[in-house]
Symmetry: C2
Subunit: 93 residues, 2 copies
């Protein structure tokens, strides 16, 4: 069913979904990408890449961002799962 050698669309969606969750949490906290970057120790361009699903965050990064965003790291991952599950139901194949 999967054609890609290195990454399936499903895999790609982990990053896309994470980006969506990160943006949502950041906006809920009224932070700019720059502010979130400064508080978490990352460059704003890295935050931007994460939010656009172009970087695959490490567990370490998730813990660091979660601290600034005042959520449990597992809650971030749960939200990512929810988006992925909703998506895979929407796409019939």
């Amino acid at each position: 069913m999967e054609k890609s050698i290195t990454r399936s669309p499903k895999e790609k969606s982990v990053e896309k979904s994470f980006g969506q969750v990160l943006r949502q949490l950041r906006e809920e906290h009224g932070l700019s990408q720059e502010e979130l970057g400064l508080e978490s120790g990352y460059h704003r361009t890295y935050i931007s890449l994460l939010e656009r699903g172009q970087k695959n965050p490490s567990l370490q990064t998730i813990f660091q961002l979660a601290k600034v965003l005042n959520v449990e790291p597992s809650e971030i991952v749960e939200r990512v799962q929810t988006i992925i599950d909703t998506r895979s139901k929407r796409i019939p194949k």
Copy 2:
């Protein structure tokens, strides 16, 4: 305890704790490092490095391992948090 300039002991413990959780889950499933590697698409040496806390897994990797280990990715992260919380309580400073 840590000599590195870039990482605090707290940060390092994310990887150590993840390694502990991964080993536990793998053993619960009666899988060898090689078997887990084969099923998840990683080399057994990478699994070994992860279990020893010497690699910082990406969110993608966590999702892939969780599938094979038949747990929710967020449950893995929750278990990591529990270990970190227990540890930080044990260390008085």
